[in-house]
Symmetry: C2
Subunit: 423 residues, 2 copies
């Protein structure tokens, strides 16, 4: 009897009918002889509605109380799903994150899982129950208060539970068929990726792919839990996220150069003009940003001018723009810069693939494709398996389509670029 | 510094604006130097809406899961109220019933409070927080599952907490100004009662007054907690429910004969026709009813006829009517009755007051008042401080008004009947 963890997102349990549909799918997995643990998100827009209600009551809701409020959404869907399963003759019990033993740090709104003590879950499974856990939430180790793990963190709950329970794999059910070579809304010919490594998936998530959350993939990689991302609306196989890079390396003839193209419209660019070219000034800038708890992404420092001053640009989530400007302005004198520029009309496009490790020509092909479309590159950042560039926002979709075609990812065209074809 | 418990019902926290209004009232009690514990109900119709959702998913929702679902309503209002208080500069924290140490039996949907372990509440109070507890819920002693105490049981949570915390008194905030001498919708001249004993309030609650729940008053009497029922929409003093019967007895000159008139349209009458007049038959009937978990109210056994058979009538909540008929029909052969009659067009009117202990003429005055209005009495039941009669449903309001006037309760008339006036 295999032990599996399934996670269903909010769009899969948007109303009573959807909950019953999901219950039938879970019942099938149970009848197939599996021990099933289900992690569930809040129904449809529940979390947003609760957030709106909180903002009606308080302009800046206390984080502890906001967590108490928001966690009710998953508790409701968990209880409703248990009712639906019991009606199908499948014994089921729902548990809050706290009851399920999801122990977290105390940072309300963005807590991290420290440990899972699955005593009650194991007992419930031993009694033959499908065991449903409210996602996105836990209990703080120190204060025993209810915490949340950040938006979308039900995926992380699922993977953490899979690791803690020794599950064979973790299924993440969503409203798309899996991970695609690009956002299908931008690239209609985007193809579903049958298998992707943890590293690639992490880069995809970090670069704007919304299918899986970065922390969830990090967790899966650390614990080596295979993750199957698939649709709750059909029975098609989805995308397997695994650590099988070795297999791929040993089979390089079929190695795709690029796995997918990610794109992100949610960032803005801050340029600090006229920073004195002295040791410690750049460090001071990023100290200020770090103290404001802003995660920055791409950083570019322009060549120092004869003036002895330099310009430093970085990108950051658009929602943190004001905070960054405020923090830097407050420290203008100490840093000694001349002025700040702010641009939220930017887009980031990233080409990702473990294959590029062995293909020196990826950068050239990527930049050629953009040049052919007259798209100017504003900033560049790379990792071993990723190249990201920042372009003008209104050119982003065009850039994604150009790159998708250039790397042969179009479903109707050459879906896979084989190593050694000389391209 | 006094320690007080305040309870706010769903109508007092129906939306964001109401929550902020309630927060201001609580802030005032805190600024007056009190340690404040607040018990809160779910917002407006939340519980009904959750129940509807449950019924959409499952025709007979599992009680354990229903409790998990319904308890989210109070958690939401508790968290929102805490946010609103914090915005007013009043530190506040919300706790679930489980976190607050409300330990209950395991009967989902109708659990009883076994004990309160207020460690976290006390700690929160010591830190200077207004401490908000989600009403209506607890945690089962045996299974550690979330339980509910039955509809409207937030009042009971409040009184139980007041007892456990050694509070001076418990304020129950509602949408009426207090307890009235009769339902003001039926008797426009009904007057607010400034003070009432636990015993009278229990009879009022048992006889159809919706202001306080019976179990709450029972609890308050057992623990001797003064309860102040008042409106959350104004600052008028409400009705104090206390154990001061001794004071009243010692001050009999001002003793009202009758404290109030309660009425109930929610009952039905079952008549079992032709029960053999043998020892054990009546007992068997009520065994059957008890096994079906139906609480019956007034019982009347008619004089045995020459036939050796008798008729037995009793009233019960209308919602249990079908269950009672089914249970009795299933046992018709064993009991040996001839037929069942069912009538839900009845109303019960009760006159209540500790004063009647010393006034033998109460029954006569009550029945005279009904006779003057040509209202026929169908069934009678009495306690030491109450006389109830069952009348035709469409005559109930008329009966209530007649009794209200007869006992001098009309606000514009003689509000109090003095002992010794010879009336």
């Amino acid at each position: 009897m295999a032990r599996i963890v399934q996670k269903y997102g909010g769009s899969s349990v948007a109303d009573a009918a959807s909950i019953k549909r999901v219950a039938r799918r879970i019942a099938r997995a149970r009848h197939d002889g599996n021990d099933v643990v289900v992690v569930i998100s809040a129904m449809g827009d529940t979390t947003d509605e609760l957030m709106d209600l909180a903002l009606e009551v308080s302009p800046q809701p206390q984080p502890r109380e906001l967590d108490m409020l928001l966690t009710t959404g998953e508790r409701q869907s968990a209880a409703l799903l248990a009712m639906a399963l019991n009606d199908l003759g499948v014994p089921a019990r729902s548990y809050t994150g706290s009851q399920a033993g999801v122990i977290t740090t105390g940072l309300h709104g963005n807590a991290r899982i420290i440990d899972i003590t699955p005593g009650r879950i194991n007992k419930s499974l031993e009694l033959g129950n499908v065991t449903i856990v409210a996602g996105f939430q836990g209990v703080s180790q120190d204060t025993k208060d209810v915490t949340t793990l950040g938006r979308g963190a039900s995926d992380t709950t699922a993977v953490a539970l899979a690791a803690s329970l020794g599950a064979e794999y973790c299924e993440i059910y969503t409203d798309v068929d899996g991970v695609f070579t690009a956002d299908p809304r931008i690239v209609p010919s985007a193809a579903q990726i049958p298998e992707i490594t943890y590293e690639e998936m992490m880069e995809m998530a970090a670069c704007g792919s919304k299918v899986l959350h970065l922390r969830c993939v990090e967790y899966a990689r650390r614990e080596n839990i295979p993750v199957h991302v698939r649709s709750s609306f059909n029975d098609k196989p989805g995308t397997w996220v695994t650590g099988h890079t070795d297999m791929r390396k040993g089979n390089e003839m079929e190695q795709a150069m690029i796995t997918g193209i990610a794109s992100d419209r949610g960032e803005a660019k801050v340029t600090i003009v006229g920073v004195p070219d002295q040791i410690g000034k750049a460090a001071k800038i990023f100290d200020v940003i770090a103290e404001a708890e802003i995660n920055i992404d791409v950083i570019v420092q322009n060549v120092s001018a004869a003036s002895g001053r330099t310009d430093i640009s970085f990108t950051l989530p658009m929602s943190d723009g004001k905070k960054a400007i405020d923090a830097l302005t407050a420290n203008q004198e100490e840093i000694g810069f001349e002025k700040l520029l702010y641009d939220d009309q930017i887009g980031k496009i990233s080409v990702i693939g473990v294959g590029m490790r062995t293909h020196p020509g990826v950068t050239a092909r990527f930049f050629d494709a953009l040049a052919e479309q007259d798209i100017n590159i504003d900033m560049i950042s790379t990792s071993e398996i990723r190249i990201s560039v920042v372009v003008q926002a209104d050119l982003l979709d065009k850039a994604v389509r150009a790159a998708h075609t250039a790397f042969g990812l179009d479903a109707d065209g050459e879906a896979v670029v084989y190593a050694g074809t000389g391209r």
